[in-house]
């Protein structure tokens, strides 16, 4: 039987190097380009008409934009609308990577931890830069939860530091692990369906259909969580009292 992790292996199509860097193409790179084209094409066509009574595509785009806007307003507030283009791009890219990866024969880019880690580090780095840019050195106050007595500081600061550093890791691992796990389960079930006689084999096959439905939900939820946590981290950096709301 095939190794269930086989679908995650990447092989370059050929050797290609530029200035000593390995820039050979593989399935994941091509898939990212496909996702970019699909997202951009979808939104550009949707926005082309701009009718008062929207077409189906336009209302889908409006729904998406409204959803992302609501997410930002809920977690950051009005200040966050500056980041709308970035957050919308992030959400749509991850969502379509997850969704298009479910089509058999394609590749789920978000099942590579290098991709999710790059996103997570960039998002976290951006929140740190925004925080220091807005508040200067006072941004370090994020390491001190409000209402901490002075003698607890030597304990609380390391704990807060760890919980800050855990943010990019948990962002990256969550998306990567969920995508990889879902596809591995599908691969195992398909392998069982193929290797068993039809009399029993239909059972794992039926399960693959159910799991595929679940995977669509997971694809949405993981994109949603990644984006909402991006908003939360940016919001913490902007308002600087991310912990204040937990005090009551």
């Amino acid at each position: 039987m095939d190794n269930p992790l086989h679908p995650f292996e990447l092989h370059p199509f050929g050797q290609l190097s530029l200035l000593g860097l390995d820039v050979s193409l593989n399935k994941a790179v091509l898939m990212m380009w496909v996702v970019l084209v699909v997202v951009a094409g979808l939104l550009i066509t949707a926005a082309a008409t701009r009718r008062l009574v929207p077409t189906k595509l336009q209302s889908l785009a409006e729904l998406l934009v409204d959803f992302i806007r609501g997410m930002i307003l809920d977690t950051i507030g009005k200040d966050g609308m500056r980041f709308f283009p970035f957050i919308a791009t992030l959400f749509l890219f991850i969502l379509f990577c997850n969704l298009l990866g479910l089509i058999p024969g394609t590749y789920t880019v978000t099942s590579q931890i290098v991709v999710t880690a790059a996103f997570a580090l960039f998002v976290y780095g951006m929140s740190v830069v925004v925080g220091f840019g807005l508040h200067g050195i006072k941004f370090l106050g994020i390491l001190v939860p409000p209402g901490t007595p002075g003698w607890l500081l030597p304990l609380m600061v390391p704990i807060e530091l760890i919980s800050q550093l855990a943010r990019p890791l948990s962002l990256a691992v969550r998306l990567f692990a969920n995508m990889t796990a879902g596809h591995t389960v599908l691969a195992v079930l398909f392998g069982m369906a193929l290797s068993l006689p039809v009399l029993i084999g239909w059972l794992p096959f039926a399960f693959t259909i159910a799991i595929n439905g679940l995977e669509v939900i997971i694809a949405f939820i993981q994109a949603y969580i990644f984006t909402i946590l991006t908003c939360v981290y940016l919001g913490d950096a902007i308002t600087l009292h991310g912990h204040a709301e937990h005090a009551h």
């Binding site: 997410m71 807060e160 890791l169 691992v173 939820i221 949603y224 912990h243």
Partner: protein, 72 residues
């Protein structure tokens, strides 16, 4: 589209989130402790032990905060 006001999807999202929150802080804490042991002080297992304990506390605090944010 999971609408953010649908309690089922919001709850599912939270459930998925909190698990990794615990794990990530533990990994970072242990990792920092191990790094301090190996490259800074060569202080035996103590950096790892302290790091894991701090990481566990940080993880529980993160999970608690995530739950608080949701319930408010």
């Amino acid at each position: 589209m999971p609408p953010s006001n649908d309690p089922f999807y919001a709850g599912l999202g939270q459930a998925v989130r909190i698990g990794t929150e615990l794990l990530a802080a533990l990994m970072v804490g242990g990792g920092l402790g191990w790094l301090a042991d190996t490259y800074l002080f060569s202080s035996g297992p103590w950096g790892l032990v302290v790091g894991l304990i701090l990481g566990a506390i940080a993880g529980i605090m993160n999970a608690y905060r995530a739950a608080q944010r949701w319930s408010s």
